[in-house]
């Protein structure tokens, strides 16, 4: 009997140890998951310059792979996640809804379908294999490209590929094209000499908006803190829009994704960071891709058509322009 009690004792110690490990995460600061899209890497400037502390808000940024960041959000280990308006719908329909409070940018060419040498148009992809992350932004881009070219989704075979592996997968020859965003798409172009982008977000401007999506609980609990985050974002935007800061900004941004500054520079064009005024214009409710409402509605229809999810999502529930508007009002 003594043995059993001793065994139980040691098990207890171990269990307490395990619990202590699990409980070591406290819930105090705002937690934001972000990933390698250039519009979100931009947060790095605010982080490195200590602007969040200056604004009086404690924020913990957690670096993830894109899909892992959305998983972390759904699992509740972060309060907010950087994602595209389309993926917010997918995440909302299949996991956990969220509200966009900042539009960082729209994709202006950095999301690409990159095809292996010998394939120069999207039509050539008929019957070929394409590596994209199923159900997420580049899948959407691919479907849009196919639709524009008068093709069907069934004309290509999707190979579910993590975006950060796309360069290697294209290089290996396992697929004929991949869908990815910078820096991954650029890595693919570089890894496979002679590969070309056959369709980019520049061909469908406004289909991909990138934003900060916050959980309803956190938004309600920490309204003032999130307003401060918005103010820091526009400080970052002002910094980046000033061309005298170009080298400094590039040094910070490129470092986050382990590139050289000169390799990062072309990304700035492919991710159009919206200034405050430009963002306000995009926040206006309107039809068409020039408004985030129109864009989100468009993507929702698209997702339904291609059965990414089954039930229509109410775009307006995902969007909250009040933070940006309040910040704009405070600036005047």
């Amino acid at each position: 009997m003594k043995l059993i009690t001793e065994f139980i004792k040691s098990a207890k110690v171990a269990a307490i140890g395990a619990l202590a490990l699990a409980g070591s995460v406290s819930a105090e600061p705002l937690k934001i998951a972000y990933s390698d899209w250039p519009g979100w890497v931009a947060w790095e400037i605010g982080i490195k310059k200590g602007w969040f502390k200056e604004a009086g808000v404690e924020v913990e940024f957690e670096w993830y792979d894109y899909v892992a960041s959305m998983d972390a959000y759904v699992a509740g280990s972060v309060d907010a996640v950087s994602m595209t308006n389309g993926d917010a719908l997918v995440t909302g329909a299949t996991g956990k809804p969220s509200t966009c409070i900042i539009i960082n940018d729209y994709s202006n060419g950095n999301d690409m379908i990159v095809a292996a040498p010998g394939i120069s148009t999207i039509k050539d992809l008929k019957g070929k294999k394409v590596g994209v992350e199923e159900g997420f932004v580049c899948h959407l881009l691919l479907l849009k490209g196919l639709k524009d070219a008068g093709m069907e989704a069934s004309d290509v075979t999707i190979v579910n590929t993590p975006t950060n592996e796309t360069a290697q997968v294209l290089k290996s020859g396992a697929v004929d094209a991949i869908g990815a965003w910078q820096p991954n798409s650029g890595q693919a172009l570089k890894a496979v000499s002679g590969s070309t982008p056959v369709f980019t977000s520049k061909d469908a401007p406004g289909i991909i908006y990138d934003g900060l999506f916050v959980s309803a609980e956190s938004l309600e609990k920490n309204k003032e803190d999130w307003a401060k985050v918005v103010s820091v974002w526009y400080k970052i935007v002002d910094f980046m829009k000033n061309e005298d800061n170009l080298d400094e900004a590039l040094a910070i941004l490129s470092k986050r994704v382990n590139l050289k500054p000169e390799e990062y520079e072309p990304f700035l064009e492919g991710t159009y960071i919206l200034s405050l005024d430009e963002a306000l214009a995009r926040w206006e409710e309107a039809k068409g891709l020039g408004s985030i409402y129109g864009s989100t509605k468009y993507v929702d229809d698209f997702n339904l058509e291609f059965e990414v999810y089954k039930e229509a999502q109410d775009a307006s529930k995902y969007l909250d322009p009040s933070f940006t508007k309040a910040y704009a009002a405070s600036k005047k």
């Binding site: 003594k2 043995l3 290697q168």
Partner: protein
């Protein structure tokens, strides 16, 4: 006695100590020599061109920088594109939208010389964007004050440097960003040397980049390599120790009492076939981010094997020992404490050595779940960006740490279990390990 030459190949006969040492060294030397041969003999393989000088192009988004590798087929296309851009510039065609963009493009063209300057030791690695210093490098190269030995600049490039310097010096002898010409200057023509693919860097490249990564001063908030190393160690040993804490007692109980064996082992036997990585998302959901799910993964990967291995080791204990103790009137508690545990300790020690190696193999997967961390994060990100010269040092380091930990543990077994020593003192074992002839051998020889 005349020395008779013993053959190297003899069935089931050990070689002399000297020969053993020689072969041990050779077993490490052969792969290294092979690696050197493939890397340094230009006519073996070498399908790529490694750029010494690159060029920025305004017509594509793909930026190649010095150190990047291009296939030998693609390199001429790249060079031709740059030559064409130069021809356009001479013809007065400006691809840039604004004077500001042209100045920026010129600035980037000027920076291409940075890689040459670093390679010649004129500038430090961090100075490749120090425009003022680079400006003077252009001057010195144009006037012949400095001559680049490695890489040797082509005639074509020397002409370009002189032409550019004529344009630049006309506006300002020193660097001023505002006084850069508003027409495009000429781009250096890409130069490079034959090299192996990026995944097989040469030994000296691995050593120099490894040295730099380990010694690089990092900015505040960044993680140094030694901190990464500690992070990784924490995961491995955290998971391993936690697993020991439960696994060892449980294993011993199962090996000693049929009751526990029947109660636990069937399920554990089943569970160990569930691959640990499949639990990764589950563990992240339970333990959230940071280290906890990683430690838990190492635990899951090690624990179940541990219980089974230890229970088996316990069962292998010499039964006569138990019987003897029972004859002397030992109670079950005493048997366990005074016979079973001391009896299996040496074998348990060996088991744990193997299991620790096991824990190391889970490290890589563990560090990739949730927020990536430690050495694996570095390997993963650098590998993704194809900087394999930065990946190899880390892989080697993990290997060395594992190898030396195990060697040290194997060696120190003699200290922990002196009764197992077969006539040789620790000092003797150390000598044997390094192949130094011992006093004993010497006296025998005499």
């Amino acid at each position: 006695m005349p020395k008779q030459k013993t053959p190297w190949l003899r069935v089931h006969k050990p070689l002399s100590k000297k020969r053993q040492t020689f072969l041990t060294i050779l077993s490490f030397l052969i792969p290294i020599l092979l690696w050197c041969a493939v890397s340094y003999t230009p006519f073996i393989w070498h399908p790529d061109i490694k750029l010494d000088i690159s060029a920025n192009r305004s017509d594509v988004t793909t930026v190649y920088t010095a150190g990047d590798r291009l296939s030998k087929e693609y390199f001429p296309t790249f060079v031709d594109a740059v030559r064409k851009a130069n021809a356009d510039a001479t013809a007065g065609i400006n691809p840039n939208a604004s004077p500001r963009a042209t100045r920026r493009s010129n600035q980037k063209d000027l920076r291409q010389i940075g890689a040459v300057a670093v390679k010649n030791g004129w500038l430090e690695h961090e100075q490749t964007e120090d425009d003022a210093a680079l400006y003077h490098i252009w001057r010195d190269l144009a006037t012949g004050t400095k001559i680049s030995k490695s890489p040797q600049l082509s005639e074509e490039n020397l002409t370009i440097i002189k032409q550019n310097w004529a344009t630049l010096s006309a506006t300002s002898p020193d660097y001023k960003s505002s006084s850069l010409p508003e027409t495009p200057i000429l781009k250096l023509i890409p130069q490079g040397t034959a090299s192996n693919p990026v995944y097989l860097p040469a030994p000296h490249e691995v050593i120099t980049t490894g040295w730099r990564d380990f010694n690089a001063s990092v900015e505040e908030g960044e993680i140094t390599m030694s901190a990464r190393f500690l992070q990784s160690i924490k995961i491995v040993f955290g998971g391993f120790l936690l697993s020991c804490l439960i696994g060892i007692p449980l294993g011993i109980m199962c090996g000693t009492f049929d009751f526990f064996s029947r109660l636990f082992e069937p399920f554990i036997d089943f569970f160990r076939y569930l691959p640990a990585p499949t639990f990764s998302t589950l563990l992240v959901a339970i333990f959230l981010a940071n280290d906890a799910p990683k430690i838990a993964l190492v635990f899951v990967g090690t624990f179940f094997q541990m219980v089974l291995i230890i229970s088996k080791t316990t069962r292998l204990l010499d039964h006569s020992l138990l019987e003897a103790a029972q004859t002397l009137g030992a109670k079950p508690t005493q048997l366990l404490k005074n016979v079973v545990v001391p009896g299996i300790l040496p074998n348990l020690y060996d088991d744990l050595r193997i299991l620790l190696g096991w824990a190391w193999t889970w490290l890589v997967i563990a560090e990739l779940i949730g927020v990536k961390s430690g050495l694996t994060e570095f390997i993963e990100t650098q590998g993704r960006y194809r900087n394999f010269d930065r990946v190899f040092p880390i892989i080697f380091m993990i290997g060395f740490v594992g190898f030396f930990t195990d060697q040290i543990l194997a060696y120190s077994k003699g200290f922990f279990f002196p009764w197992l020593r077969v006539g040789s003192s620790p000092l003797e074992r150390l000598r044997q390990f390094f192949g130094v002839p011992s006093d004993q051998n010497k006296s025998k020889a005499v």
